[in-house]
C-alpha cells in the first residue's frame, strides 16, 4: 500500500512560476501569503493528510456511512479526524478574518484542498461544502446572518450543505418544486431534496443547509427560485443550537464511489414545515448560487487532479516493487521491477504529465480568481474575470474527464491486481467517476464553454488566450523543446480553427455547436495543458542554469513536458477535426431511429 506524499515541490513550482504567486501577494488583502509561508502551509497540510486522512481512505470506502433512525453515522475514524482537522484550524484557511478565518488567497487554499482530496476525498467534501456556504453568505447574507452563522462555519463547529437537486430537477433547476411559505420572521419549507452530500451526519453539532425553494407567488422557471438557510437545529437567541428543525434524512444512496461521504435524501417539512430564513432577495436564489459556481467548479476540477495524483503515486509504488519478467530484449539475467518495461513507463509518464499539466492550469485559474476579486484596477479585474470564466468549465470538465482515464491507467499498471479491490487502485477510479457528474456534468460544462463563454463574446477571450499561447510557442524555437515545437503549433492551430468554427456556427446553428462541445472542451484542455507544460519547460531550463538548481526535479520537468508535447498534443488536431467536421453525424440519426 502506498502512503500519500503531498507533491509539494511540483505544487510550489506551479504556484510560484506558472500561476504567479508574487503577483497575487502584491494584491491588497493577499500580502500575507509569501513564498515561505505557502511552503510551510503545504508541508504541514501534507503531514496532516498523510498521517490522519490518508489512512482513513480505504476503510471508509469499505465501511461507508450508515443510516439508522434518521441519524447518519460517518465511517469509523471520521469524527475524530474532523475534530483534529477543526482544532488544527484547517477549516478556516480561506475564511474571512472577521469571522476567525485566515483569509489566505485561493492560490493557497486550492492547493491545500488538492492535498485533502488526494488523501481522502469522501472526508474533505464536508469542509468543501461548508466553504461554499460561507462564500454564499459572505456575498449575499445579511449582516445578522453573517454574524450568526459565519464564525461557527469558519471554525468548523458547524457544517454546511448545498440543497439544489430534486428528483425532477437535476441539471435543469428551473423544475425545482420545494415550497417556502412566509410565516412571521421566517419561512416554512416543504419538499424533498436529493443527492445532498454530507446532508446529515454526526461530525458537528449543527448543519446549515442552503436550500433552493419557491415562494407562493413566484414566477415559473429559474427566475422564481429563492435561497434559504435551513439549520438542522434552529439557533436560539444566544446563537447556540436550539430546537430540532423539521428536516429528516430518509435515506442515503448506494454509490459507485465516495462511499465514506453520505449522499442524503432530505425530507423538509413532514410535520409543520422546516423553519428557513431567506438569503437576499426573493426569486434571485439561482443567481446567488451561481456566484459561487466558479469556485465550486474549480474545486471539483481539483478533485480530479487530486485523485489523478493519488492514483499515480499508488501505481508508481507498485511499478517500483512488482517484479515480473526481464528487460525487453534480454533472455537471461535477473527479473526486474515492472517500471523497467517501456509500456509501464509510458503509462506512468502519461499519468504524471497530464496531472502536472492539469495542476498548472487549475492553479493558474485559482490565481485569476484572486486577481478578479482583489486587483486594484477595475479593467484588469474584468479581464481576469473573463479569463477565469473561460477557463472554469475547462478546468472542471477536462481535469475530471482526464482523471477517470488516469485513474484507469493506474488500475492497468497493477495488472490483474488492479481489478482486485484489496490492491487499492480501483477505489481512485470509482471515486473519480463522480467528478465528471456533480457540480454540472461535462456536457453542461461544455455547453457553458461554447455558449456563455466562447459563443457569447465571439471568442474574444479565447482568441486572446490563443495569442498568449502562440507567444510561448515562439519562445520554444531555441529552447529545450525546440524539436517538439511543431506539435504545440499544430495543436494551437487546431484550437484556433475550432474556436473560429464555434464563433462562426454558434449564432446560426447552436445545435451543431452543442453536438461537438465536449470534444471542443477536451481540445481546449489538451492545448491549455500543452501551453502550461511549455511554459514550465522554458522556466525549468532557465532555472537549470543556476548553480544550486534542483536538477532532479527540473530535468524531470523537462522530460515530462517533452512527453506531453509528443504524446498528448498530437491528439489536439484530431479533436479539432472532430469539432469542425463531426456535428452533422451526431445529429444525423433521428432519436426515433436509435
Amino acid at each position: 500500500m502506498s502512503e500519500y506524499a503531498a507533491p509539494v515541490k511540483d505544487m510550489l513550482f506551479a504556484i510560484r512560476e506558472l500561476a504567479g504567486l508574487s503577483e497575487v501577494t502584491a494584491l491588497p488583502g493577499c500580502e500575507e501569503a509569501n513564498a515561505e509561508l505557502v511552503a510551510q502551509v503545504l508541508e504541514e497540510a501534507g503531514k496532516f493528510a498523510r498521517d490522519v486522512l490518508d489512512p482513513l481512505n480505504r476503510q471508509s470506502d469499505r465501511e461507508g456511512a450508515r443510516l439508522a433512525d434518521g441519524k447518519v453515522t460517518a465511517p469509523q475514524g471520521f469524527k475524530a479526524a474532523y475534530q483534529q482537522f477543526v482544532e488544527a484550524g484547517w477549516n478556516g484557511l480561506g475564511g474571512q478574518p472577521q469571522h476567525g478565518g485566515q483569509g489566505l488567497p485561493h492560490l493557497v487554499a486550492m492547493p491545500v484542498e488538492e492535498i485533502w482530496s488526494s488523501a481522502c476525498l469522501s472526508f474533505c467534501l464536508g469542509p468543501m461544502l461548508t466553504s461554499g456556504v460561507l462564500e454564499a453568505l459572505r456575498i449575499h447574507g445579511s449582516r445578522e446572518q453573517q454574524d450568526l452563522y459565519c464564525p461557527k462555519l469558519t471554525s468548523g463547529e458547524w457544517c454546511g450543505t448545498m440543497n439544489l437537486t430534486e428528483p425532477q430537477a437535476g441539471s435543469d433547476l428551473s423544475a425545482v418544486r420545494t415550497r417556502a411559505v412566509p410565516e412571521g420572521d421566517h419561512y416554512r419549507i416543504q419538499g424533498t431534496k436529493i443527492f445532498i452530500t454530507w446532508g446529515e451526519h454526526d461530525l458537528a453539532e449543527n448543519i446549515v443547509h442552503l436550500v433552493l425553494a419557491r415562494t407562493p407567488n413566484a414566477p415559473e422557471g429559474v427566475k422564481g427560485i429563492s435561497l434559504f438557510i435551513v439549520p438542522k437545529f434552529v439557533p436560539k437567541a444566544d446563537g447556540e443550537p436550539g430546537e430540532r428543525n423539521d428536516i429528516r434524512c430518509v435515506s442515503i444512496e448506494h454509490k459507485l464511489g465516495i462511499h465514506g461521504s453520505p449522499t442524503c435524501v432530505l425530507a423538509y417539512g413532514d410535520e409543520k414545515g422546516a423553519i428557513g430564513y431567506r438569503v437576499g432577495e426573493e426569486n434571485r436564489g439561482l443567481e446567488y448560487m451561481f456566484t459561487m459556481m466558479n469556485h465550486a467548479r474549480l474545486g471539483v476540477g481539483l478533485e480530479g487532479i487530486a485523485l489523478a495524483e493519488r492514483a499515480y503515486q499508488h501505481a508508481l509504488e507498485y511499478a517500483k516493487t512488482r517484479v515480473q519478467g526481464r528487460e525487453i530484449g534480454q533472455r537471461s539475467g535477473d527479473r526486474v521491477t515492472i517500471i523497467h518495461h517501456p509500456d509501464v513507463r509510458r503509462m506512468l509518464l502519461s499519468m504524471k504529465a497530464q496531472t502536472e499539466a492539469m495542476r498548472a492550469l487549475a492553479y493558474f485559474a485559482a490565481a485569476l480568481l484572486d486577481r478578479s476579486k482583489h486587483h486594484p484596477d477595475a479593467a484588469q479585474r474584468r479581464r481576469d474575470q473573463a479569463m477565469l470564466d473561460l477557463l472554469t468549465p475547462v478546468v472542471k470538465g477536462w481535469c475530471t474527464e482526464q482523471a477517470i482515464e488516469i485513474a484507469s491507467t493506474g488500475v492497468q499498471i497493477h495488472g490483474g491486481m488492479g481489478f482486485i479491490e484489496e490492491a487499492g487502485a480501483a477505489q481512485y477510479l470509482r471515486d473519480a467517476r463522480i467528478t465528471t457528474i456533480y457540480e454540472g456534468t461535462t456536457g453542461i460544462q461544455a455547453n457553458d464553454l461554447v455558449g456563455r463563454k466562447v459563443g457569447a463574446e465571439a471568442g474574444a477571450t479565447a482568441l486572446a488566450l490563443i495569442e498568449a499561447m502562440r507567444g510561448v510557442e515562439s519562445k520554444l524555437e531555441a529552447g529545450p523543446l525546440a524539436d517538439a515545437r511543431g506539435n504545440l503549433k499544430d495543436a494551437i492551430d487546431g484550437l484556433e480553427q475550432a474556436t473560429r468554427w464555434i464563433v462562426d456556427s454558434f449564432p446560426r446553428d447552436a445545435k451543431a455547436v452543442a453536438a461537438v462541445s465536449v470534444p471542443y472542451l477536451k481540445l481546449f484542455g489538451t492545448v491549455s495543458g500543452g501551453w502550461m507544460m511549455a511554459r514550465a519547460a522554458l522556466i525549468a531550463s532557465e532555472q537549470l542554469k543556476q548553480p544550486d538548481a534542483d536538477q532532479d526535479f527540473l530535468e524531470a520537468k523537462l522530460a515530462t513536458a517533452r512527453f506531453y508535447a509528443e504524446h498528448e498534443l498530437p491528439k489536439a488536431p484530431a479533436l479539432a477535426r472532430e469539432v469542425i467536421h463531426g456535428a452533422a453525424s451526431v445529429l444525423a440519426l433521428d432519436p426515433a431511429k436509435f
Partner: protein, 249 residues
C-alpha cells in the same frame, strides 16, 4: 521559568537518503528537510510545560545554515515564543553545537535546556551531554518523563532493562527520548502567528565560539547489501554456524 530548546534541520525522515557519488557525504542539496524528530519531541515537551503553567517563555535555538530559519518557524508555530539562529555554513559537530549552546545559555539564562537525544542525520547523541558538562549542570539523557517540582526536574529515563528515575537539580540539561510525548500537528493559526514572532540571527564569532570541524570525514558509503540467508537442518547446525562462521557464540 525560561526554557531553551534546540532544534536541528535534518533530512526529512520520510526521504530515502542517498550517498554522494564521490563518497564525501550524503546528498542534501534539494532534498526535503524537516525538524529532527527528537527535537520535535523536545519542543513539544516545552510547549506542554508552558501550557501547564510551569514554563513562562520558550526560546528555540538552531545552529546551521540560513535555511534553518524554516525549522525555527516550525518551532515557533509549535509554540516557541522566539527563535535564535546561530548561522554557520560548515558541518557543525557536536562539540561546536555544545559550545554555541553554552554561549546562548549564558546570554539567555534559562533554568532548563531541552534537546533531542540525538539527531537522525549523524546519530551522534553527544551535544546534550557535552553541553551539561561545559556548563557544569545536571544532565538527564533519554528522558521519557519530565516533571518540575520546586528546584528539581524529576525525570524518568530509559535505560537497558528498565526505567530509571532521577531528580536533577535545576538548572539542568534534559534530552528527549522517543516516548516522552507525541508531538502535535502544527495548527494553521499558529503557522500564521509564527511569522510575526521575533527571529534573531547571530554568527558564532559574535558569541566567541569557533565552530570549525575537528573531525574529518574520510569516506561515506552505503552499508553492504545483505546476502541471501541459508536454511539450516537443525539446532545443532545453527549453533555450529553461529560459533564457527558468525563467531558470535
Amino acid at each position: 521559568m525560561k526554557v531553551l530548546v534546540s532544534v536541528k534541520r535534518v533530512i526529512d525522515p520520510y526521504v530515502k537518503v542517498r550517498v554522494k557519488s564521490d563518497g564525501s557525504g550524503v546528498e542534501t542539496a534539494n532534498v526535503k528537510m524537516a525538524m529532527n524528530p527528537f527535537c520535535e519531541i523536545a519542543m513539544e515537551q516545552a510547549v506542554r510545560m508552558k501550557e501547564a503553567g510551569v514554563v513562562s517563555e520558550i526560546v528555540a535555538v538552531s545552529v546551521g545554515t540560513t535555511q534553518s530559519q524554516e525549522t525555527l518557524r516550525t518551532a515557533m508555530a509549535m509554540g516557541a515564543d522566539r527563535g535564535i539562529l546561530v548561522e554557520a555554513d560548515a558541518d557543525v559537530q557536536p562539540l561546536a553545537v555544545a559550545k554555541v549552546m553554552k554561549a546562548i545559555v549564558e546570554k539567555e539564562s534559562p533554568r532548563l535546556v531541552i534537546m533531542g537525544k540525538q539527531a537522525i542525520d549523524d546519530d551522534s547523541n553527544q551535544s546534550g551531554q557535552m553541553l551539561a558538562a561545559l556548563l557544569g549542570w545536571a544532565q538527564v539523557a533519554f528522558a521519557s518523563k519530565i516533571e518540575i517540582n520546586g528546584d528539581n526536574a524529576d525525570c524518568t529515563r530509559e535505560i537497558d532493562g528498565g526505567l530509571e528515575k532521577i531528580a536533577a537539580k535545576l538548572p539542568a540539561v534534559v534530552t528527549a527520548d522517543l516516548r516522552l510525548n507525541e508531538p502535535r500537528y502544527v495548527t494553521l493559526p499558529n503557522i500564521m502567528k509564527a511569522k510575526k514572532k521575533p527571529l534573531e540571527t547571530i554568527k558564532p564569532d559574535a558569541l566567541g565560539v569557533d565552530v570549525a570541524p575537528r573531525l574529518t570525514t574520510l569516506k561515506v558509503e552505503e552499508p553492504a547489501k545483505r546476502g541471501a540467508g541459508v536454511k539450516v537442518a537443525d539446532v545443532a547446525e545453527l549453533v555450529a554456524k553461529l560459533k564457527n562462521e558468525a563467531k558470535v557464540l
